[in-house]
Symmetry: C2
Subunit: 89 residues, 2 copies
């Protein structure tokens, strides 16, 4: 399943996501870190901590940015920035 290699960044402490990414990189060759809105800076923190502190052999394979349209409960829509960082061994 493709989603096995994706880590979604939310509002938890950054080390939770660092642990999730390093764990997945032990069983897969690459992991994609996805985030939206304010969590984007935490996604960059996660990728940098994994590379600098735990797995120096891991490289940034690609970084993509985009915009997602989210529908709120009242039916209105807002645009939110998104980011995907793919790390590979």
């Amino acid at each position: 399943m493709a989603d096995d290699n994706v880590v979604y960044i939310g509002n938890k402490p950054v080390m939770n996501y660092v642990l999730a990414v390093t764990t997945q990189l032990n069983s897969a060759n690459e992991v994609t870190i996805k985030a939206r809105g304010q969590a984007i800076s935490r996604a960059v923190d996660t990728a940098e901590i994994v590379r600098n502190r735990f797995m120096p052999e891991v490289k940034v394979k690609s970084i993509e940015i985009g915009t997602e349209t989210i529908t709120r409960e009242d039916g209105s829509t807002i645009n939110v920035s998104s980011m995907e960082i793919t790390l590979a061994k």
Copy 2:
């Protein structure tokens, strides 16, 4: 001067930076958006608003992430994530 084509993202409203980037892109072929820490998500917002709303012909040329070590007034150091997004016509 190389810095002419760089926009540093801070804590102002995102439209200030959108205006700065679009202005520079009218006189230069590419602009680099730089941000650190929490401002990283605003940098992505800036790039996406410029591309989607004002200058659809502009492409994301490159995105880089890194870590900078900052020395605080008391002499201690902290690591902060950084990001550079280069937009080009």
